[in-house]
Symmetry: C2
């Protein structure tokens, strides 16, 4: 069990989130009413499992989802957006090894066919099946692989921790570890799995997330909780400023616990699970050597705090400096100066891992006091000294391995 780190607390992050204990031992099958599977269909040339299925066995089938805000959205996003709009769904099918993005009308037809095949296997309607894909953009899905894999996945469906882990493993691409988290309330549970290791940016990352709960909640309650949880977790995870065409976060509620949680209590637990998954994404980001939390405090508004944190989190110069274990606060100030937030440049403080290296916009305590070589975690705090709002954005350093993985990915 881990606690949400204090970076997530404070007025900017809606207080008591950090009091919810989260386990990373179980994922989509932690909640009652769900079965899952992960099988090797043959999408990935490198081998390994690559098709996952998560089924909500009810009694209820409420669903909410968030999708990429990228206007170039993948075919499965177009399909799943329509399914989620009704507020009901019974299954999510996910494949790695191909994004089915920028694939035209044929790509949409292939997403539809995938849903049909799942529906046939489960004896439900295609309109109850969400589809998620991840992998290379601009290639058609191999439909023979889909036709072979879906019945296998249906046959492999099971309840319990191992089934959840199989599903979490099958959606990995350049991820090095499966990512799961769960948390509970009084008699109900919420859990989830995620994949994503690059292209992480606001408005969601290249990231597929399936969340499940046995709480008894209608779709509009799920939707409100999911929007709030994503806003302060996934949407503040910005590994490389690149927004994917395929991002999807799905939350399904089975009602199997028979319990109706308070909206606020449920949102807290859901946020804690999302926060844990987001941190797992950052920790496993392609080629990263440091995990960086950029917190802006003393801002006039939470939006301005987020803008400042994001500007720093996106500075390639700062991110390469961190890779070089250099607490280069000049590059922090350069990034802060590009924003429209309210501040006086001559009053800015920058603190890195507890050392205030910049005080009132000029040289502060000696930067030699910061030993980044000794720490994977880098906490940057910028004090705008304007108001009371704060926000944290999480990112990584920019490393040789990032360049290597992303220059070699499609070859």
């Amino acid at each position: 069990m881990t606690e949400i780190p204090s970076a997530a607390a404070g007025p900017g992050d809606r207080g008591p989130v950090h009091t919810v204990p989260v386990s990373t031992e179980a994922g989509v099958c932690a909640a009652a009413g769900f079965t899952a599977a992960g099988v090797e269909a043959g999408f990935k040339k490198s081998g390994g499992t690559d098709l996952a299925l998560v089924v909500n066995n009810g009694p209820e089938h409420a669903v909410a989802a968030q999708f990429t805000s990228n206007r170039v959205a993948a075919a499965p996003v177009h399909w799943s957006r329509e399914v989620a709009r009704q507020g009901n769904a019974r299954a999510v099918v996910l494949n790695s090894g191909g994004a089915n993005a920028c694939t035209g009308p044929e790509g949409f037809q292939n997403a539809h066919t995938t849903a049909e095949l799942v529906a046939q296997g489960l004896g439900i309607g295609a309109g109850d099946v969400l589809v998620c894909s991840t992998g290379l953009i601009g290639e058609q899905l191999p439909m023979d692989v889909v036709r072979r894999g879906v019945p296998e996945a249906v046959a492999a469906l099971a309840a319990g921790q191992q089934a959840g882990l199989s599903a979490a493993t099958a959606i990995m691409t350049t991820d090095t570890v499966p990512k799961q988290a769960c948390a509970g309330g009084s008699g109900w549970t919420v859990g989830g799995m995620a994949k994503g290791a690059g292209m992480l940016a606001p408005g969601l990352a290249t990231m597929l997330v399936v969340l499940t709960t046995d709480a008894l909640l209608p779709a509009d309650s799920l939707s409100a909780a999911l929007g709030q949880a994503c806003r302060v977790t996934f949407n503040r995870t910005d590994s490389d400023g690149c927004m994917s065409t395929n991002d999807t976060v799905v939350l399904m509620a089975s009602g199997a616990s028979g319990r109706v949680p308070e909206q606020e209590e449920f949102t807290r637990a859901l946020t804690a699970v999302c926060h844990s998954l987001a941190q797992q994404l950052i920790t496993d980001a392609e080629g990263a050597a440091h995990d960086i939390a950029v917190t802006t405090v003393g801002a006039a508004t939470e939006t301005e705090a987020e803008d400042v944190s994001r500007a720093v989190a996106r500075s390639n110069l700062f991110k390469t400096a961190v890779f070089g274990n250099d607490p280069n606060w000049g590059r922090v100030l350069s990034a802060v100066g590009t924003t429209q937030a309210q501040f006086d440049p001559d009053r800015l403080d920058v603190t890195i891992n507890g050392v205030t290296v910049c005080r009132n916009g000029a040289i502060g305590d000696p930067r030699e006091g910061v030993d980044l070589a000794a720490s994977r975690a880098v906490d940057v705090e910028i004090d705008l000294k304007t108001g009371d709002a704060r926000a944290t954005v999480w990112t990584n350093d920019l490393t040789h391995d990032y360049v290597e993985e992303n220059s070699a990915y499609s070859s």
Copy 2:
């Protein structure tokens, strides 16, 4: 003599710019009435010349300048902004080896003292001397070095090509070559020098540029021409999305030719010189293996064309793909999709080095037809098929050498 490449032409770039021939053999001393020097004062621990001086000997002393839009501006920017505001200046002093940024009141005093020392040497007022600095942020200038170096630079002042080259060499930091350009009209000349090799981004780059002309033009004409030239050259040069605290572009007019050019003719020649210098900056950008020109055509407005080009030019994923010689158009579309420009995702075309790899938002001609390994130049054209506007943004690929140079820079 080189011609402005066609990427700079078209409606988005004000047409006939590309007909002005530019030479890169001479710089700030190409125009009559200017002397220059570059000396080894001792700012750079690595040795080499590091203090440059450019003097306008008149008869006129009109000046115009553009400065960083970064709100965390360096002390010399604050000083020079006040000098340029009057419309008259007689000299620019520039040092490499220290940015004098984020240095508080002491830093401003040091910029002022530097101007005073130059003024004493030349027998003019400090209010006629612009100051530019480049190097590490957050360190005070060593004033003993300034006191020793300025008289040496004054003593070394000379006219002619060699003096201009000395000045252009003394302002280099991680630049590998000095950068000069000049062009002429009927009886008058405009020339300039530039430094900058990283942190190149909109609203100017980490970039110091001094432009000189012997044309007879008042400060407001210079200012209008400079604004227009910067807008389509330096402000569309975006190496790594990072905006510096020190960027300055100064244009001084001596009137020594006695000729009064047409405003439009002068703007064309000035733009051609700025374009050449901007291309030299991109070609010499830190660790770059490819020079990328991202042109958006068929846009509703020039602003939207520029927004789309810039989004692609800032995509770390696309830039690493280019480093890997991969014409990854999916990463181009991912970046285009994050903008608010008017387009239909299903009508987008992407052409890379002449091959239309994406047609109507989906798979186009085989990407194998693009051989990026054989070409340093990468021309990306995105057709939004919405209107007639176009704009080009120039950038580089993201390479191991970029990470290396920027992670090791301050150590």
